[in-house]
Symmetry: C2
């Protein structure tokens, strides 16, 4: 049997500001036969996500930083090619954090691998609507933002993997939904997901424009803000928040590549008088919601209430391009790299 090799991506150097292709370095590694308790897997899909930018900084955070010269990590879906583990057999579908590579051999627990159930869903859904971004949306809007029927909900990054799921959950819960996205094409996608209003932030241009657009869409203000963007979006949401509004702080992509000192929300004092709750969260803290999430998601996808969009790039060579595309807004829905 020929030696299996893996094409992989490592960090060549830590990006300053917006990452560049030259920050990545391709390499080839041999993938051994599985030892005791190990499985060998060929990846079919890998995920690129905004949070990975944070792991490129050398700093303490909730996930350890990527190391220079070492293969990066991230969500991946693959099939077992050989197993020396009693729980896995050849052909099993597996999700793991062993992304940014085409194949690997490891103990499942070392890469957070998990055997996936055979559902009617396409495999790639487990990296999106039925995977980490979907659970992020579900935990954030239901638990952190404490969504109630009839709320007016503002979702930034509403055409993205997380945001588009939030829009649809809020509509399923009979809320009024305002999404923001960049450009006419994505705005059309957000409306097609069922949003009541959409704001093209490239047209709105900054705090004043966003506030004007939000006031037009929600004259009485917003009850919930699901934040994927930060910056002017967050400041505008504070400005139009109703008393007792809840903010789920999922991400601040507007700031991930910031090199200077970012500008904080100048109107933070409104948190007091309006009794706002601004709460950050990380999906792994809410893993206890996984069973309810999967049950709801299966039901919603089955009934046609939950759509999902994907932007797919082909081949491991395109992985850095796919990642960089997250920051230029190249994706509608989940950004994926097809490997298999």
């Amino acid at each position: 049997m020929a030696q299996l090799t893996s094409t992989e991506w490592a960090l060549a150097q830590r990006p300053v500001g917006l990452p560049q292709l030259s920050d990545f370095q391709k390499k080839t590694t041999d993938v051994p036969e599985p030892g005791d308790g190990e499985i060998q897997v060929k990846n079919e899909w890998m995920s690129v996500d905004p949070y990975m930018r944070g792991r490129m900084y050398d700093r303490e955070s909730y996930v350890p930083p990527f190391q220079i010269g070492e293969t990066m990590q991230g969500g991946a879906i693959g099939r077992v090619t050989a197993s020396n583990h009693p729980g896995y057999g050849a052909g099993d579908l597996v999700s793991s954090m062993a992304g940014w590579r085409t194949a690997w051999t490891a103990k499942p627990e070392a890469v957070m691998a998990m055997k996936l159930p055979e559902t009617g869903l396409p495999e790639s859904a487990f990296l999106g609507v039925a995977g980490m971004p979907g659970l992020t949306a579900y935990a954030g809007i239901l638990r952190i933002a404490e969504l109630k029927e009839g709320d007016t909900v503002f979702v930034s990054g509403a055409a993205g993997a997380v945001g588009s799921t939030v829009v649809q959950i809020a509509k399923i819960k009979n809320c009024t939904v305002i999404g923001s996205a960049g450009g006419p094409e994505k705005c059309a996608t957000v409306m097609a997901l069922g949003a009541d209003h959409v704001i093209d932030y490239k047209q709105a241009r900054g705090f004043d424009g966003l506030v004007a657009a939000l006031r037009a869409a929600a004259p009485k203000g917003i009850d919930v803000y699901f934040d994927n963007v930060g910056g002017d979006h967050l400041t505008a949401a504070i400005e139009v928040a109703r008393p007792m509004a809840r903010f789920a702080e999922c991400g601040m992509i507007a700031q991930y590549n910031e090199t200077g000192t970012p500008v904080g929300p100048h109107n933070i004092i409104q948190v007091v008088g309006k009794q706002l709750k601004i709460q950050g969260f990380i999906v792994s803290t809410h893993i206890d919601m996984q069973p309810a999430f999967l049950a709801d998601m299966a039901k919603w996808i089955g009934s046609g209430q939950m759509q999902f969009n994907e932007t797919v790039m082909e081949g491991i060579d395109k992985a850095p391009d796919a990642f960089l595309g997250l920051f230029s807004g190249a994706n509608t829905g989940k950004m994926l790299v097809k490997l298999g």
Copy 2:
């Protein structure tokens, strides 16, 4: 019987920035005999509080703005001099929102008047530790900040009416407490309340100094921040917050007299990665905690676990000075005006 008159303070004009004595206007009014359902009260104490600055702006807020030329309002304690209401008799002790005046006649419900129980406490305590500032501290630290035994707690404005109560509740709950206050005298007061560490913010001078002082006092970071100050204090607290820390946003006195655009916390992105909860609150929302609050407070004062400091100015003429003193830090503990 001679006509009772009241000396009162009205807003002469809306302050720009720091209020001035010339923003206030003294007047004298006749106080009529009580009509049907009314009581006549001579105030013995009145309260000045930082939140009143907000009512001097002409803007929508959680309490309506003061009107130019009309007597201002605020907490007061007085005794009934005549009653035409079945629930009140002459000599009864009454708390109300009919402050900034020496006497008044009104229906109790029109001025949120309430008969006070005869306790062992001095009357003025009902404007401080056993009144609105005390309940603010109690609701904020226990419900909003979700205080747990062993937490490391940072309290700004720790020598003030609310802050000094927060310090002591946190010590009663076996927490490590860091207070901040301005100047050596107030810092000594904070330590005398039982705080483990005190930061003189006039020495610390801004964000970097506050962060350094906080890191020295709490090398592992803080679990709770009770914010009375905002500005650099809030930004520094975000910087040293541990994962899952909770912020009770009670007030931002550093910004109340701001005329330019305030500077927001530049490190707001840490809310996501550290999963912080930053939540504003207003005491009236938590009035359901009043019975538990009064029971606990009576117990703590009785056992000597809860001290309270007052800064008293004498006579209605001094009311504007007392209010202005809040912004120069003239008070240790509750700032009061003695009228009776």
